[in-house]
Amino acid sequence: MYAPTNQTGPQSAATEPPAPTDGHPPDAALVLLAQKGDSQAFAILVARHQRQLYRLALRMTGSEADAQEILQESFLNAWQKLPLFRGDAQFSSWLYRIAANGALMRLRRKRRAPDAVSEQAEELAGPKFTADGQHEEPPHSDWSQRADEKLLSQELGEHINAAVRTLPDDYRTVFLLKDVDGLSNEDIADALELTVPAVKSRLHRARLALREQLGDFFGG
C-alpha cells in the first residue's frame, strides 16, 4: 500500500470510496498528489492504467512498436499536463483521450489522407434490406453456436483481428473501448470528445460490419 508522507485533509478520511483492488488510493486521490509533484503517485496511476492504454493503442495501430511509443508519449503528456487537469472528467477518460488522440494522429500521418476516415465509413459493410425493410438476404445460418466451438481457434482469432483492422479508425476505437475494454458510452464519449448518440451509432455500425465479416468466415 502506497502511503504518501505528506498527505493531509479529507483525502484520508474514512468516507472515501472503496479503494481499487490494487490496494492503493483511488485515482482522484493519486491525481491530487501527482499534481503536487508526487511522481510515485503518478507511477501508481501508470501501473493501474497502462494495460488498457496499451490495448487501445495496439488495436488502433496494429503495431506493437507504435503502441509502445504511444504509451510513452501519452503518459509523459499526462504528467506534463497534469496541472491542467481539473477533475471534471474521470482521470482514466482524460488519459484515454490523450492516448486515442495520439494514436489517431499517428495513423493519419501515416496515411497522409485526412479524409480517408469519413470515406471509409461510408463503405462500412452491413445488412442489406429490401425497399420495404425486410432482410434482403435472410441470415438463415445461425453461426453463433458454431462460433463457440471455434472460440479458441487461431484461424478465427486472425480473422477477427483482420476484420477489426478494416474498420475505419474512429469506428474501431469506439468498438474496442466498448466491446473489448468494457467502457461505458459516457466514458467513451468523454474520452473521444463525441456525443453519446455518436458513440452508439459508431458502435452499432462497427458491430454490423464485423458481424457481416464473421458471417462470411462461418459461411453464414
Partner: protein, 107 residues
C-alpha cells in the same frame, strides 16, 4: 397501444439500445413482438451478440512484460523521481496482476 415494428431494418437499428437495456418499455415490447415472429431477425440478434463476445474473447491482449519494463525505464528517464520497481511491487499492480483499471473505469 404499442406501435408495432413491421420492418426488419427498424428492428436491426434498435438492437444496440435494446441489448444495452436503454430502449423504452414500449419500443422493447414492440421489438420483442417482432422478434417473436421473425426468424431471420432472431438469427440476426444471436449473431450480432456473438460478434461482440468473440471480439472480447480474442482481442483481450496482454501487455508484454518487456513493454512494461521499457515504459517504466522511459518514464524514469523523463520524470524526475519516478520510481516504479515492478520486482518490489512499488507500483502495486505490476505486470503479472490482472487489470485493476476497470475498477475505476467502469461505472
Amino acid at each position: 397501444m404499442v406501435e408495432l415494428i413491421e420492418q426488419c431494418s427498424e428492428c436491426v437499428s434498435l438492437l444496440g439500445d435494446y441489448l444495452e437495456g436503454s430502449l423504452s418499455r414500449e419500443r422493447t415490447t414492440a421489438l420483442e413482438t417482432h422478434l417473436s415472429r421473425c426468424m431471420p431477425c432472431i438469427t440476426f440478434v444471436r449473431t450480432y451478440k456473438k460478434t461482440t463476445v468473440l471480439a472480447r474473447e480474442t482481442l483481450a491482449a496482454q501487455m508484454p512484460r518487456e513493454l512494461v519494463t521499457s515504459l517504466q525505464q522511459f518514464l524514469k528517464g523523463a520524470i524526475p523521481g519516478f520510481t516504479c520497481d515492478s520486482k518490489k511491487g512499488d507500483c502495486g499492480s505490476s505486470a503479472q496482476q490482472p487489470d485493476s483499471s476497470s475498477d475505476t473505469k467502469k461505472s
